[in-house]
């Protein structure tokens, strides 16, 4: 395609820049004269941008607009939930998690429960959630490259996998907060500038109300929440709310960022800033969805709505202007894949490197770096192959399922672990298994079948509303049954979690 030069330039620029920073980014040095350790701790604003950069994935960049175009206003719950998850994180988890000193979720389980078994279960879950979350990133990348340069979908998946792998194994961009922070602002710009232009075009065209446009479904159904669907629609909505509100705290690549905060107070400030930044970003995708209903209604009929954001500029603004905007959006989408996929790959590779590939097998044991690299290959190859093999289920939907698994497992662990002294290792493991297996079965069923009739697809397609309470209940009941085994030093650990660092207190 000749008119795709701008998109190609955007993709290549993003990929090359990412690799260059990953390779040479650590070579900045400073001398004592302008070096003050205190002034170099990561400020909450910067850290929040970095969290935003890593968190805003393909689902946010492409998926939300597609869902809004196809299903209407109900789907605004996705961006609302993805933002509000940080409110729950702020109130219940942020500061105590930081004070626990844990770097990853398995670390927290081990520190709180003093149990290697609970740690192992958490490690498995981190890998499972990471793979499930990576799957739509790779699928989305295939879509974007097909749209941008007409390549078959597997090319995009392969390119993103290779770039991520090269980036992660060569040193990683995780370490550089500044780069991740830049990613947020780049994605915001890539979405904001075209949106402003397109809204101007829309106003110039007479500002047709999207609800009145001739799109899929009648106007009432599109613009009114639960316009159709009745009890099932209500269930799906509440289930989605539970999954997204409670799932954020269980995402492996988000949690590790909190370690960078110097103390619990900074962790809270960071979370607050994240709320603001995400709120700002999520104003934009619904604009594309609404404009899509006016200008790109035929996309919804074709079913390939995930490319809406990329198509829209060309449809509304034929010529060079549209090409440039498409190029900017493609670059932004590619940046979204790379940053989220890198963060997830590092989180998964870290767990695999520590607990699987770094173990001693017979007489042989891989060194730390090699184990991490082998782990990274595994972390990328498994979801990559799955992305190639599985059919297109919708980027935002699969991410929604990853949230459901996180909400059914790590949310009960964190909330009860932080706020309930009597949680025992046995209770935690039982709850993690119930939540993990329940939601995991639902995910497998949803990815492997195509049935859409009756309650089964509804309950299994959006499992959080039953799997989260089941996990909570199991943890509480089993903990009460094994209460005698609760540890004496759990009390001491709770004191550490809940007292501000400034309080002079013996925490040993």
């Amino acid at each position: 395609m000749i008119d795709s030069w701008a998109a190609l330039v955007g993709v290549v620029l993003v990929a090359v820049t990412t690799l260059a920073i990953g390779t040479w980014g650590l070579r900045f040095s400073r001398t004592t004269s302008d070096f003050m350790v205190a002034s170099r701790t990561v400020r909450p604003g910067l850290n929040a941008s970095a969290i935003g950069g890593e968190y805003l994935s393909a689902a946010s960049f492409l998926g939300v607009a597609a869902l809004v175009l196809t299903f209407g206003a109900d789907m605004l719950w996705y961006p609302v939930g993805w933002t509000a998850g940080y409110l729950v994180l702020l109130v219940l988890v942020a500061a105590p998690l930081r004070r626990s000193g844990a770097y990853t979720l398995p670390d927290f389980a081990e520190a709180r429960l003093q149990s290697r078994g609970a740690r192992a279960v958490c490690s498995v879950l981190v890998v499972a959630i990471g793979w499930l979350y990576l799957l739509p990133q790779f699928q989305g990348a295939g879509l974007v490259l097909r749209q941008a340069v007409g390549a078959p979908p597997w090319v995009g998946t392969l390119v993103v996998s290779l770039v991520v792998l090269a980036n992660v194994t060569s040193g990683g961009m995780r370490s550089i907060t500044f780069v991740q922070a830049f990613q947020y602002w780049f994605k915001l710009t890539a979405l904001l500038v075209p949106a402003a232009v397109l809204v101007a075009v829309w106003v110039g065209d007479g500002a047709v109300n999207p609800a009145d446009a001739d799109g899929p479904g009648s106007a009432g159904i599109w613009s009114i929440p639960l316009g159709e669907g009745g009890a099932q629609g209500l269930y799906v909505t509440y289930s989605l709310i539970v999954a997204t509100f409670l799932g954020t705290m269980g995402l492996p690549h988000v949690v590790v960022r909190f370690y960078t905060n110097p103390d619990g107070r900074a962790a809270r400030r960071t979370t607050l800033a994240v709320l603001g930044l995400l709120g700002l970003f999520y104003l934009l995708p619904p604009v594309y969805g609404a404009l899509g209903r006016v200008y790109a209604a035929d996309l919804a009929d074709g079913g390939a709505t995930d490319t809406l954001v990329l198509e829209l500029p060309r449809l509304m603004l034929p010529g060079v202007g549209g090409d440039v905007l498409t190029g900017l959006l493609t670059a932004g989408a590619f940046a979204a894949f790379l940053s989220t996929a890198s963060g997830l790959t590092i989180a998964v590779a870290g767990v695999l490197g520590q607990d699987v590939t770094g173990r001693r097998y017979g007489d042989r044991r891989l060194s730390g770096v090699t184990a991490f690299r082998v782990g990274a290959v595994l972390a990328v190859v498994v979801p990559g192959v799955l992305a190639l093999a599985s059919m297109d289920v919708g980027v935002a939907r699969v991410v929604g399922l990853a949230f459901a698994v996180a909400a059914s497992t790590f949310c009960p662990l964190l909330v009860l672990g932080i706020w309930w002294r009597d949680l025992t290792a046995a209770g935690a493991v039982a709850g993690l298994l119930v939540g993990g297996l329940g939601s995991g079965f639902a995910v497998a069923w949803t990815l492997l079948t195509t049935a859409t009739e009756g309650w089964a697809p509804v309950l299994l397609g959006q499992p959080a509303a039953w799997s989260v309470p089941a996990a909570f209940a199991t943890m509480v009941v089993v903990s009460l049954a094994t209460r005698g085994r609760s540890r004496v030093d759990a009390r001491r650990f709770m004191v550490r979690l809940h007292t501000p660092e400034s309080l002079p207190l013996d925490r040993g």
């Binding site: 205190a38 170099r40 000193g101 110097p262 590092i346």
Partner: protein, 374 residues
Amino acid sequence: MSAWPGFLRRTPLGTEADRATFHTLHTASLASPALRQGLTGASAAQAVPHLRALLGSPAVALTDTAGLLAWDGDGSHHAGHVPALIGPAVEHGSTRTADASDLPCEDPTCPVRHAIATPLVVEDRIVGVLMAFAPQPSAGLVLATHEVAQWVSGQLELAELDAQRTRAMEAEVRALRAQISPHFIYNSLGAIASFVRTDPDRARELLLEFADFTRYSFRSHGEFTTLAEELRSIERYLILEQARFGDRLRVTLQVAPEVLPVTVPFLCIQPLAENAVRHGLGALDGVGRLSIVARDLDHECLIEVEDNGVGEDPERVRRALAGDGSLDSVGLGNVDARLRNAFGDDYGLVVETAPGAGTKVIVRVPKFAPGVHA
């Protein structure tokens, strides 16, 4: 290695005598972890059932020099007689026996009719008594009790060694705290004094740095601190040294902000920086170049302290890490031991050096380790 399984298959469990030996060794190994914690009520309670299995007597007791710590087996109503029974053994430091007259009992079926008391000796000091009880006197049991007591004494001696090693390490940390050399204090104050007239503001700043540096280094609480605190203290130290040496000391610090919250043992990097300054100043061209790098490696943090000094024979460094104090490197072995103690043997110091090639000390620290917090 591969010959072992085949050998085991041919003669699965050895002869009768072999099996008895294996059984005894296994029972002893069960008692050993508790005894390695020293002789306390809790450790005695854990060890005494295994000791009874070793001796095969109806009841066994462990005591300290004052009274009973733990009793296992029948006839525990005799526990009240124990203080009187151990008296002679403790006094004479040798095995004593007692008969039914010393163990008055209403119960005709009670198996506790005779007692054997053998003192437990650690470094020529009697710390407790092992007692075995039996219905009949038996020379075999006396002999067995004596041998088991010898073995228990050996385990307790090892426990004592463990405790001594920990105490020695703590003492060394205290020494590190107080090791800021008189020369450093004298020279720093001298350097500050030289600025008092020419640059009073700088003199004041340096004096404040000096005050903060000593406050951190003399801090008396806490085994751990954050990397940020440790680096801040090193920074102050380097500012003071630079005030003294000016251009003869060039410092590069390269620190990833992400690793500043990492928990590290107190004073585990500062001694390395002091060594590097000293080595660097002895460099051939007279200009000491020192670089400190802290990098983020996902779940670990990597700290490198490098100088351009004359270097060192690797064999001597190896000996210093093994505990030989003759090397002119402050606390290298101590830092290594404390890192291993806190994070496990995977996290010891790595020293890259050769004569004439400078020295680079590499410290790896995990971001999270159970039980380690500042």
